[in-house]
Structures are given as C-alpha cells and as structure tokens.
C-alpha cells in the first residue's frame, strides 16, 4: 500500500440523507484509519440509487487509492453496494458457499426466507471475505487496477467491530511500514494551552509526529510514529510520550482511553475502594457515566439524585434551614451532599454536585455556576466552577461531571485536589 494513499469513505443509505441516522461509521472508521496512518481525504454519502452511487464510485476511483464503503450490503433490493462496486471494477459476484451455509443457519426458518436473503452470500470473485460475527451481511475487500476496495455493513454495531477485527489488519498487511499511534488524554488545560506548550517541538517533529485535539470537555495529544515494525514505532515514541507526560504532569489522566471515568474506575478497583454520588444539576449523569462501563459495580456503590431542595432534605437529611440560608447552589450544600451520601451508602468516597445548568438562572448565580465536592475519610474538598453563561445545559452537566471525576483521580493518585 502506498504510504500516502488517499482514502475515501463512501457511505450508502437514503436514511443518512434524510437525517434519520448520523454517519457515525465515517467518524469511527476515520479515527481508526488515522491511527494506522491512512489519510482519509473524503467522506461521501449517497442514497440507495444505482445511478448516483455508480457516479460516486467513478469519482472516488479518480481521486482515491482506497475506497471504503459502508452500508448497502443487506438482503433488500435497495442494497446495491456490492453490485455497483463489482460492476465498476469488472468483477463478477459469485456465491460464497460458507457464507451461504452461515446465512441458512442464522436465519430463523419460522420467519421464512426468500432468495433475497442469500444475495448476502454473493461476493466479488476473488475477494477476501470478512465474516460478520455481529449480524448477517458479510463484508469483503479486494485489490484491482491499483485500487483497494473495502466494503462494510452499515449498522455501527456490526461495522465497527468488523472493521477493527478484519479490515484494519487487512490494510496494515498491505503496508510496508507500521504506523502506531497513542493518545495522551488531558484535563484541566485546554487545547490552546497544550498547543502553546509544545508548538516549537511539534513543528520540528517529522516522525514521530504530535498534534493536539479538542474534545467537547477535555483534550488530547496524539502521537504517531511510522517504522518497519510496531515494536520499532513504539520505541521511537516512548521517549516522546515520557517527555510529554512529564511536562503535562498532573493534567494527564490516561493513555488511549476515551473519558476520565475510564481512568478513575481502575484506580478505585486497584485500591478496593468505592464511591457514591449525590447529584443535583447533573441529574444522574455522574452515575450513568460510570455505569456505562462494564464492571462498574465493583467501584460504584450508588447514589442519590436530589433534584429539589425537599429531596435533598428527605434523601440526604440535609437541614432545610441550612439550604434556605445558603441557597441550594452553594459551597456548604455541595459539601454536605458529598459527606452525607458517603455516610449513607458506606462508600469510601462521596461526591456531590449542585449548580445551575441553565438555561434559566436562579437570580443569585449566573448560569454555569457549579459547586462540586468530594468527601473522603476525615476531609472534604469543594471546587467552585464558572463554566460559562453561554454554554449548553449538556456541556455544563458534562463538564461538572469531569471535575468530579478529576477530583477523585487526583485524590487517588496523591495529587493536590
């Protein structure tokens, strides 16, 4: 595979053009491809229309070396991707005996199945078949006329694991050099701050390379190396990563993970510790985030969503007069929420959040004012946050949650909270 091969992701499906579905496949595949050094130059979406799809394939063949399709591999008559791609490259579709058997086994006979179901076993002659362990339609890949074509099913819960298991190794094997990438995840300093710290170094680097990226509520530094082997690429990156981690220090919450709760879970697990949450403005989102990760029950005891003052009193036993005096959005209420949920549940750590996620204010604080707290044996910490008056409700809730998890991360790793 050419080192600088230009790649186009061509997604097929009228539902994408109607806005009924978001094209997460293009995003997810692009992220995986960028990590192995493949340059994605275009995303195209076209409907289930043979003429328009054929024309998009013609354009993709002109401007890209690798064409990756998603969608249109199913059994219905709108599913045209294989036919059109095979035609464009002058290949016949032939039935794959193993896939046909698999389809026969996987389709419940009582549902009844027609000749159409077996069309999923028709694949371009000579292609590499990617079996679909997560659904029925197989994917495939072939090389022809100096181009590489990879076809994947559309449903994200099939496309993404299949692409990881089959397409990424297929594409890596075609390359003479190995490209390896790591992301250093950062919280507490913005993308522009990271950029300022490393700008000179980044500009001077060619291999490995380094680039900062902003996510919704945190940021990351992506480090990528190319070499003859993965081990060599890793050893080229090791000193860079070590230096980055040293300079960023306490702002680094993890490597190659997606969110800060993924860093906190193992820290708690290693120490055999649990936490509980008392949430007001985050409304259950702190609990939801940790429980989205399988195995959360080892570290997350539970918690209370105390959305009204009355419930703060009833569930957590906070004195209503104290709330009245200080206001629900206050240092003291946040402090008590963390302390009381800790005692109530018997967890090692209690965390609390109270604030204004907007759009309406409370006449005292501006929107975006949030108090987050963490109670541990003998000590309680509170952070006062001002997350911005023009931010969305969901941003403020997510950012408040990040601060809660950051407090735990810092406490558990011996950093100043």
């Amino acid at each position: 595979m050419n080192k600088s091969c230009d790649t186009e992701i061509l997604s097929v499906g009228t539902e994408l053009l109607l806005g009924h579905v978001t094209n997460t496949d293009a995003r997810d595949l692009s992220e995986l491809l960028s990590k192995i050094g493949v340059n994605v130059r275009y995303h195209t979406v076209v409907g289930d229309n043979p003429q328009r799809l054929a024309e998009c394939v013609r354009i993709a063949r002109q401007r890209a070396d690798v064409i990756i399709t998603t969608g249109g591999l199913g059994p219905t008559c709108d599913d045209l991707t294989k036919q059109i791609l095979a035609e464009s490259f002058g290949l016949k579709l032939v039935e794959n005996a193993e896939e046909r058997r698999g389809l026969y086994d996987s389709i419940h006979p009582e549902r009844g199945f027609t000749g159409n179901n077996f069309s999923q076993a028709l694949l371009p002659e000579g292609c590499t078949v990617f079996h679909n362990d997560w659904g029925t339609a197989p994917g495939c890949a072939f090389e022809k006329d100096g181009k590489i074509v990879v076809m994947m099913p559309g449903p994200p819960n099939e496309c993404l694991p299949m692409f990881r298991r089959y397409a990424i190794p297929y594409l890596k094997k075609l390359s003479e050099e190995q490209i390896v990438s790591h992301s250093v995840r950062i919280f507490g300093i913005g993308e522009s701050g990271v950029d300022d710290m490393f700008a000179d170094e980044m500009n001077a680097m060619t291999n490995p390379t380094m680039a900062p990226y902003a996510k919704e509520c945190d940021c990351l530094l992506q480090i990528t190396a190319k070499a003859g082997s993965e081990a060599e690429a890793e050893s080229m990156m090791a000193p860079v990563i070590a230096r980055v981690k040293e300079r960023l220090g306490e702002y680094v919450y993890g490597m190659d993970i997606e969110c800060i709760e993924e860093a906190v879970l193992p820290l708690l697990k290693e120490r055999g510790m649990t936490f509980a949450a008392a949430e007001s403005c985050t409304g259950g989102d702190i609990a939801r985030r940790i429980t989205e990760i399988p195995g959360a029950s080892a570290v997350f005891a539970g918690g209370c969503v105390t959305y009204t003052n009355e419930i703060k009193a009833k569930l957590l036993g906070i004195d209503p007069a104290m709330i009245e005096e200080n206001g629900a959005v206050s240092f003291l209420v946040a402090k008590e929420m963390a302390e009381r949920v800790r005692i109530l549940t018997g967890a090692d750590i209690g965390v609390g959040v109270t604030g204004l996620a907007g759009p309406d204010g409370d006449g005292v604080h501006e929107v975006g004012t949030v108090f987050v707290s963490m109670a541990v044996e003998g000590e309680t910490f509170v952070r006062e946050l001002h997350l911005g008056t023009k931010r969305t409700r969901s941003f403020i809730r997510r950012m408040a949650g990040n601060h809660v998890y950051d407090m735990m991360r810092r406490y558990l790793t011996g950093l100043k909270v």
Copy 2:
C-alpha cells in the same frame, strides 16, 4: 426554487476526516431540509485543503442545484470556504460594515485581535448575510448561475440555530410551494409493524406522503404535504394524521418531539404530579434523561441509583433476605424499588428498574432481561422485558428507560399499563 432541486451538503474540516468530530451538522441540516421537502442527494466532507475543496465545489456544481456548506468560515488561515466558493462563482469578497462592527464589539480587546479576525466580515458581494447570534462568524447565501449557495459555520451550536432561523426561511421563500411535515412518534410497535399497517395506503399516496423510520429504540411516521400555503398543507395533512393516530392508537406518544420523556414531562406538569426513580441497571439514565429537559424540577423529585444489593437495602430499605431469595433481577425487587422510592421521596409516582445490561450475565437470567416497575397510589405495575442477548449495554439501558416512560405515559393518559 425548482421543486425537485437536488441538494449537496459540503462540510469542510480536517477534524471530520480524522474522526475527531462527528458530522452532526449534515444529519441535523438534512432532517430540517427533508421537512421542507428539499431533496438532499449527497453529503461530502473534505479537509481544509484549497485544491481538494475547489474540486469538490466543481463536482457539487455539476450534480446539485443547491450547495450548502458547513465549516471553514472562522478567522484562521485554514478557513477557506468563502474564498473558494466565491472564486468558483466569480464573486468578489467584500467587507460587510455591520458585521465588522459586530466583530469589533464581540471580541474582547484584551485578548488582542489581528487582521485575521476581520476576515470573518468579508462576504461574497450581493449575498444575503446571516448574522451569527451564537458565535462570531456570519453565514450567508446567494443565487448565481441557476445555483443556490448557503454557507454556515461549523460548530453545531451555531450552525443549527442559525440554519433554523435564517437559512430555512431563505430557502422556503425561494419556493413557490410550501412544504410542511409532521412526525408521529411511536413506541411499542416496530418500524416493520408500522410499515405492514400502512403499506397499501402509503403506496397509493402522492401528496401528502407518509413514510416510517426506525430510531434506535422507537420509530416514527413522517407525513409531508406540499401546497400553495402552509395552512393549506396543514389542512391536507389533518385527516391523514387523524386517521394514523386512530389506527396506531395507544402506540402514539407524541407529535414532532424527539423522545418519550418529552411527552411525559407535560403530562405530569398538567396534572401537577411528580415522579421519582430507583435505578439499578440504567444507572441514573432515567434521571439524566428527564433532567436534560429544562424545567424538569417541576415534575422530577429525584431518585436513587442502587447499583449493588447492599445499597438497595441501605438507601431503599429493601430486605436483603428478600433480595437474596428472589435475586436482584426479579419481579419482586423491581416492585419494591418503585414502591419504596415513591414513599421515600413523597412523589406521586415511583418507578424502578433492575436488569442485566450485559455484557456479562448473572448465571440465572440471559443478558437483556430487565424488570421495570411503576408504583402509584394503591397499585404497582411491573413489566418483564427480554431486550435481546446480542444488544449493546447502551441499547438495553435506553430501551429499559423507554419502557419506564411508556408506563408513565400510559398511566397518565388512562391507557392500560
């Protein structure tokens, strides 16, 4: 504007091709456009590269009547969209005095600003300017050579409200006919069931039209009419909508809303009622969903996330021996969760969820087994769900939540729970 005008959404930004950002703009704009009857035929994503962008514009001009760009309007030197589009259509960029003044006012002088900032006030000569009330870069639109071009900023929290406020009316004004669309939101019957019910009718319809669409955990029927005026389109749809609602009956949870909790909130509010939630496998997601909507505090008291058996006992006071005997995932535990959270909080309705969201089972039930419950004055309802052994954790959690909200909706509207 031609009735069948083909539209391309051209999104500009290397971050999209690296997979750092999902192209939600293309989805959101497509949905809004489909509701006014505009046929989106292509989505294209290209990076911040002048040659490749110019080539994409050339292709879009050949195959589309309307080109809508997103992104690349900012002040940095990668922001090329206006320059390339203006060049392609032979238009000059001229400074808009009002926008320049606005930029001057909106940029904090202490941050310092360079000539680059004012490049945002440069717009194609003769265009219609869309002022950006949510950020700094204005959008614009023009007609030239039989094509319509609309340019929008990339950040979704600017693009989407601006598109709604300015671009949709602009595009509607160009059309001689008005297109109006409504979605009937459905839960409890799948897209294929809806399709079966209405297939003959849908095939026979030309104006209004009707089509079913699947969402992750529910589905909808989109009804669209074209007429000389909005009022006329509405009156053409009224009998169709009435008939659809009558036939689908209790499965219809709302019109023109996005999720079932949006239907439940006003039902509770009208009745002056509140609810509280005791959540196990949903881990706070039921609370999070209602509190994502501004004004939730009027109807949502709060709740408990009781992720472990110990916490079910501690927070809700459920007898540990009873949990031991029945298992945490059981009819009786679900029933007690709803009843106890109702009493504990003093809410009118208590809901509960306990189940297996996977990926691991408990050796007794299969993954996807969930008990959802609702306690009201004098009565408790429990549904046993089997949501599928191959579903993702997040699907099972969301679907369980939908059932909880559906039970409340049914109870509040006098339907059989």
